[in-house]
């Protein structure tokens, strides 16, 4: 979609995940060694051959909140973010601020494994299926008086909202974009992914030979994007370039040979004016499904021959697949990696597919300077997106 000559910077970000409030909590979890037989967070490991009654899921709780909701996740993220800003968000120019909320679904009742199975028709609030309810929840929960838009590109929604925020700043539509996404487990997610046989048996194993599906999770992330020249805040990272496209292949299946995804990554790097050999770390979409990981690995191989290229990992095996919020939480993980000079491992991957394995970080974080990083995301509807970040 875009290229930037006007520097756009991340001036603040926050996340809530299973690991707790804040990016630091996520960072501590990302540093933990990943043992092959470790259970998915918060879920008991099953004996061989057994199945969870539904699926492994990663649930999130917020201290002091009896029940996690999309609104409480947004509120918590905003509070944590605002506390870390030199100038509180509300004291900035709200007239030139736009909120962009990534959402795959509106504000729906939360699913939990303790509840009895419910018919989809009884468990879904049809009037709140509109994603606009998530956008409204964000501005209301955070008390923001600014225009908002809800962006849906399914599991790439967070990245698409981030990219749209960059574009709207670049073209001068706004000076600041608050980019957010939050997801709790919903009946539609659990019934849908389970019925589609897309859920892992015990845990998500991205890029592993034994991978058999995704692991749903809950969480949220929030980013503040601003034009570098206008911001009083110290930049956390430079958004060097971005690109999105459509694979025009299938609503749910990725293009098998990864050609379109490779084109999108190339376009983002060209926009950033970054040669592909300069990318230090790539945070992959890496869902743990047979189709996505194979296609994604082929896309990477098109750009970087075997044995060269960036360190690659997927963190979904740790925090779960957060649908709309996934790519934003993973962007937060990527920024943590840049700041701490540690590439997180691919949680759940201990037997990498041999032809893909050379650049995968597995088992433990890899200490390395990370100056340039890429985040890749994909979603139902054929959308893919790539965002290139540089250290300030």
């Amino acid at each position: 979609m875009g290229r930037t000559k006007t520097p756009i910077v991340v001036t603040g970000y926050a996340a809530v995940t299973f690991a707790g409030r804040g990016v630091e909590a996520l960072g501590r979890a990302l540093q933990a060694p990943d043992r092959d037989n470790a259970p998915a967070a918060g879920y008991p490991m099953l004996p061989p051959g057994a199945r969870h009654p539904y699926a492994p899921v990663v649930r999130t709780s917020i201290e002091g909140d009896a029940e996690v909701s999309v609104a409480s996740l947004f509120r918590t993220c905003f509070h944590d973010l605002d506390a870390g800003m030199a100038v509180p968000i509300q004291e900035g120019d709200m007239r030139r601020t736009v909120a962009l909320v990534g959402a795959t679904i509106g504000v729906q009742p939360r699913w939990s494994p303790e509840q009895p199975p419910a018919q989809l028709g009884d468990a879904v609030a049809p009037g709140a299926l509109s994603e606009a309810t998530a956008g409204a929840a964000f501005v209301e929960a955070c008390g923001l008086g600014c225009p908002y838009y809800t962006v849906n590109t399914a599991c790439a929604s967070g990245s698409s909202a981030f990219v749209l925020g960059c574009e709207l700043i670049r073209i001068g539509f706004c000076d600041r974009a608050l980019v957010a996404a939050a997801e709790v487990l919903t009946f539609l997610d659990v019934h849908g992914f389970r019925s589609a046989k897309l859920l892992a048996r015990d845990r998500a194993r991205p890029f592993d030979r034994r991978r058999d599906g995704i692991m749903l999770g809950e969480g949220a992330a929030l980013f503040v994007l601003e034009a570098a020249t206008r911001s009083p805040e110290a930049p956390q990272a430079l958004v060097a370039g971005w690109s999105t496209g459509n694979e025009r292949h299938d609503i749910a299946q990725p293009e098998p040979d990864g050609r379109c995804l490779a084109d999108t990554i190339s376009a983002a790097l060209a926009a950033a004016d970054v040669p592909r050999e300069a990318v230090d770390y790539l945070n992959a979409h890496g869902t743990g499904t047979r189709a996505n990981d194979a296609s994604e690995a082929r896309a990477f191989r098109r750009l970087w021959p075997a044995g060269v290229g960036p360190a690659v990992s997927s963190t979904k095996g740790l925090h779960g697949h957060l649908r709309a919020a996934g790519s934003l939480v993973e962007l937060a993980a990527t920024l943590w990696a840049m700041r701490s000079s540690k590439a997180p491992p691919t949680f759940g991957c201990h037997l990498p597919e041999p032809e893909w394995g050379s650049n995968l970080v597995t088992g433990a974080p890899r200490d390395m300077p990370i100056r340039t990083a890429l985040k890749v995301a994909r979603g139902f509807g054929g959308v893919n997106a790539a965002i290139a970040l540089e250290a300030p």
Binding site: Q119, Y148, N152, E167, S195, G245, I251, G381
Partner: protein
């Protein structure tokens, strides 16, 4: 609130719409397609919205075929969708109930239940590889899609764009949790092909786009907001010849009476089209402005306005060029 003008200018090259005029207030010479033709068969997992928009895009791109046609590899697609997914989720729920399976969701329905499946289906159907996005801001969804998309094309983010939205009646009926007030839900969809340059003859320019922040509570505030929008578009108020109102609510109705201009009220003219009202309304405005009558004067403008829960959006379309 935010006001912006596409500069360099962008034009509506062409537009297509599917909607059923009720005979109450729709301009007589606006071409619309019979929506019934795109109702999916029962066994199909997709929605009316997805089918209609895919077919409308094909029609629009075929009409634009030729050396000057926009390249399909880079065409930007932004669709404003409000309740489209509710139709598919409702289908899935009915199927699960009929099968007696308590926690089942047919995977074919599931993958089509997400709003991004609509632009996805459009892209697959028409071989489009550019960015595709579903935008949802409630009742203003398609207005915001056209406004944002027009600005992105104007500033060179994409060479051209398909902008608009759709809303099947079934989705709106499924989303209603009780008997709704006002006009009954109806099928409606429209797409505009927007690009920086237009061939000769009368054109419709996207003059400006405006988005409020949710604080419009009375007629005076709405009037001030709309007049500020017209000023940003560098138009004299006297140049405003047509209002297209996307909702029927007390605030909009009171304001409409206060300004005393010809108006197309989309819910009266076509039924309740939800988030697609502005797409169909922009299609109406485009054809009205291009017409040969008094409305087709150089510089004449139409305002497409949505106000939902104090959140206002406005798109200003302007006649550019003389009658051929």
């Amino acid at each position: 609130m935010i006001h912006d003008r596409p500069s360099p200018p962008v034009f509506v090259l062409d537009s297509v719409a599917a909607a059923t005029p009720t005979g109450r207030g729709a301009p007589a010479d606006v071409p619309v397609v019979e929506p019934r033709r795109w109702h999916p068969a029962k066994e199909q997992p997709t929605s009316w919205t997805a089918r209609a928009l895919s077919e409308l895009a094909a029609q629009l791109l075929n009409q634009a075929a030729g050396p000057a046609a926009p390249a399909r590899d880079a065409l930007l697609v932004i669709l404003g969708l409000e309740h489209g997914r509710a139709e598919v989720v409702d289908k899935a729920a009915r199927a699960a109930r009929a099968m007696g399976l308590p926690d089942y969701c047919d995977p074919r329905h599931f993958v089509h239940s997400v709003s991004s499946a609509v632009p996805g289906q459009l892209a697959i159907h028409n071989g489009l590889a550019g960015p595709t996005l579903a935008l949802n801001s409630g009742g203003a969804a398609s207005l915001d899609a056209i406004g944002i998309g027009g600005l992105l094309v104007s500033r060179g983010v994409a060479p051209a764009a398909l902008l608009g939205g759709g809303e099947g009646a079934a989705g709106r009926i499924a989303a209603r949790e009780g008997p709704g007030a006002g006009p009954p839900p109806a099928d409606g969809a429209a797409l505009l092909l927007v690009a920086p340059a237009a061939p000769g003859g009368p054109q419709t320019r996207l003059a400006s786009y405006h988005r409020g922040d949710g604080r419009i509570a009375d007629v005076a505030a709405l009037d001030a907001w709309v007049r500020a929008a017209v000023e940003v578009a560098e138009l004299p108020w006297a140049g405003v010849r047509l209002l297209v109102l996307c909702q029927t609510n007390a605030l909009l109705e009171a304001w409409r009476r206060s300004v005393d201009l010809p108006a197309v009220v989309i819910p009266e003219a076509f039924g309740d089209l939800g988030g697609a009202a502005a797409a169909v309304g922009s299609h109406c405005a485009h054809h009205w402005l291009r017409g040969r009558g008094a409305q087709g004067r150089e510089g004449a403008a139409a305002l497409v306005i949505s106000v939902c829960e104090g959140r206002a959006s406005c798109l200003i379309l302007q006649r550019s060029g003389a009658v051929e």
